[in-house]
Symmetry: D2
Subunit: 300 residues, 4 copies
């Protein structure tokens, strides 16, 4: 149950089967530095190219293909006082007829006020003078090596995780990922200080982080990422269009309710039909992300 | 500001330009009986054919093409003690490869326990013996006459509303609909005692209702349905795939933030990027429904 | 086997259940005048509003719900010497990132040179000085009354036909449509002198026509439109996204091969897997159109 | 202008940046052996795992990132006398409601009769006793290393090519691919003796091949694959849903008409609107493939 501190010297723009940066035991914790989506570190120095440079990969001892890697997100601490976003809204979320009237793309800087626990635009327009949503840190991109020797761009996501940009991958959440190679090879980065549903400006508030996560190897097999918060369990599908992402997530939830909660397909549908919630993780990346979520109080 | 009580003697399976059943003034309230999605009334008598027989249409005096009809949902009271759902999950929410393993479709009966405020399966499997979610009544299908003399099946939805099956069309919500004909011609029905996101079993808990709504005519023009709850404002897009429904809803929200909240496209994107929520109304009907929602505390 | 000549005095922008303009017997031929998509007639007089004003509806005696209406397209003769198109390409066929760089929408006039059998831009840019594709007339929009008393905009299409904009609905083709009301109630219009796949500029070469069609009532039931040319049989699906339109068309073809050609699902798949062709009718209208086509020489 | 013969001893299930198997000069020809989609070679020995084991990669001297690799398909000769397909139709091409009634998946063997130039089921059902479509060989999967160090499964496709399963990648066609790494790193395999549009049984007639291709390096940049046959030019988009694949292909064609044929966007739209053809390469793989095709006789 060791805790490892890791400061990367190189970063990865694909999630694949690179040489591990660190070997960690089942149960260990890693405290790792990550850079922002454009490769800026805690000092705002450009140390890696786009997109979404990853810290890692971490080799988790005992993880074998067919296993599940459990990743508890212990803490996500921004490592600098600013982040950035794009505006206006992304092309993927507007009616095509509205695209011609979009203003030009711009980058905006946000102050991350850790003391007050909020983010604020550095130069807000008058209409947004008081706009200060809470800091809600999340991991935009993390995952394990995919199957077959693939190496997938950190711009996108798949069954192995990746750039899901789902705001519930946040402190207190435990994520599960399907392992395809020995050691799992876990990568993480692309932290956001805040983000609404869908990452609809093409970014969260992008900044560098110190991220603390704890690994467990589970001797069970899953198909798509799963997660658990204090309140909920959820499954994640990554695909286009959103319909297909939702189908993956829903089908995985049916499997989970059968495996762990004693609900056959019919019973699962009775519960899900009345209490399921869907979240749009992102509707911007090459693969969109939808989560299928159920409050644990409905399950035994 | 009169209150009208209305018990229909005929029902409609399209939202079109039928003869009005009642003329009501701007500001009036209607208390109307509705039957369930299969045409069963408060006594469980079959009084109308599928799909989703509508009560109405109500002619709201003063409503003209280009106006907006505001419909405050005052009260939704189930008019009988049972409702029904289908199981298992709908074909639209499962991976195609999972469809072959689905059990056969069945209809289940739910007790609507008004005293306890919950719904319960009449014959639950053992695993669901204690499953009793709260009654959360909603209007599955309501809308105004569409443009051009169209008459649209109550199985689907469009810019004029229709079978959106969105759980926030609930008591306390005010919905806005774009008016295309004199008098608006408002229809409603298809009440659900409860429903999760997406109507993923193809139904909510379908039952007959007494529905109380209050109309206001607004001399302004909208493109897609809008709504307001105690906490939030939201816009609704109806289309396939979900991506397109989301685009309609998002684009309408950008318009609304510009019209009423002083936010240009860039400012709107700064707010929406950090605090927007998306809800999947339904992912079952011919047109899917997505809502774009923002908490009012972020707006002035 | 009478031949009826029909010059409309009113037009329809929905395909629904209007009063028939003419009663015709099973086996009869109708020679009807149609106006262009914007309502311009043979003299270029504006006689009807958009979209796609329809001639009809024709009541075909003996047609009953559950039957199939066979419509042989005998002849499509442009009734004036010019047609028009839009430019540039439609929003639906471009990458969203390319939309911002589109030139403004313009209407162009084309000469329809019946003697030479070609169309030519009236004012071609130099690069298109010699561009003169053959006149290939087609019916953009035609169909029968939909089920349930619906009235559907002539901008879109569904199981009953409508604005499919498929270039093989041309002289020599026989189309089949599923009948939902007594008399079928057949509408037609929106003729194009030429059009590529997909109607990707949002129009074909839009002009007024004299259209000659012959009706037969078939005592059999189909689900989606079907057609037959000298070479091929085809089925048509109308939906969004294209994937779903393709699924409808393919599933209908499997049914047809089973009903008329003695091929069970497995045999049908062996044939279709090797020789099927897909055509994109339109990728512009609210419902997209895909045809699934098989050369008759592969079938017995 | 050398000709190289290559018999692989190892195969790849991703298109990435493996060590080159052979260095070839700009202008050289390669005659390479390929195995079928399941890894069976000319003797029907299993020599490689699924999916779609690739021969290569070939390093083409002089190819640099930003260049285009031209690949002329000179000859595709099946290297054994049988191929195989699946039945029935794939899950992606059927209405979801039809999936439950599908027969079980089976593998069928086809005789490849080179003398007669046709394929025939080895054990045809009676209804298909005479069914013998022409051998029409094609390359199912080929491409160059993608950008960023990615390694993409040969089950799917992207801007760099891959598993496009488009039947016009056939002898006589020249394909263009965008180069992302020095030497391009070209892979090929997954030959089909025949295949209809869409690869709708999940396979063509899968067999091993001797494939002859000739490489040229073009000092120009493209975004998506392009191709040229005796009659046509075409562009290819790979994505889901089909709509997006079509958008990529169409946008690339607009670029091409501008670059090489002197047509600005408006002129391009006038031509494409009247004569464009769309082909569905595949509607089965993780990324679907659509080609946008124009007959060269319309271009100068």
């Amino acid at each position: 149950m060791a805790t490892h501190r890791f400061q990367p010297t190189r970063y990865y723009n694909v999630i694949g089967t690179a040489e591990p940066c660190l070997l960690v035991a089942d149960g260990d914790t890693v405290i790792a530095q990550t850079v922002d989506a454009s490769g800026l570190d805690a000092r705002e120095m450009a140390v890696a190219p786009r997109p979404n440079p990853m810290t890692g990969p971490f080799y988790i001892e005992g993880a074998e293909p067919g296993d599940t890697l459990s990743v508890r997100i212990d803490r996500l601490t921004p490592s600098r006082g600013t982040g950035w976003t794009y505006s206006p809204l992304a092309l993927t979320v507007l009616d095509p007829a509205a695209i011609a009237e979009r203003p030009a793309s711009e980058r905006a800087v946000w102050e991350i006020d850790a003391a007050a626990g909020v983010v604020r635009l550095r130069e807000p327009p008058p209409a947004l003078a008081g706009f200060a949503p809470a800091i809600q840190p999340m991991i935009g991109c993390f995952g394990v090596a995919p199957a077959l020797g693939q190496a997938l761009s950190t711009a996108t996501s798949a069954q192995n995780g990746g750039n899901m940009d789902y705001r519930l991958f946040a402190p207190g959440t435990t994520a599960w990922l399907p392992v395809s190679v020995p050691g799992a090879l876990f990568y993480l980065g692309d932290g956001h200080a805040c983000q609404g549903d869908g990452e609809i400006v093409g970014t969260g508030i992008e900044t560098s982080f110190e991220m603390e996560v704890t690994f467990r190897v589970l001797k069970r097999t899953i198909t798509w990422p799963r997660g658990e918060t204090a309140e909920d369990i959820f499954t994640v599908g990554n695909a286009r269009p959103l319909d297909q992402a939702l189908q993956h997530a829903t089908t995985e939830m049916v499997r989970w309710l059968g495996e762990d909660y004693g609900l056959d397909q019919r019973a699962a549908s009775h519960v899900m039909g009345q209490v399921v919630r869907y979240d749009v993780g992102n509707v911007f990346n090459p693969a969109f992300t939808v989560a299928c979520r159920i409050a644990k109080r409905w399950l035994r």
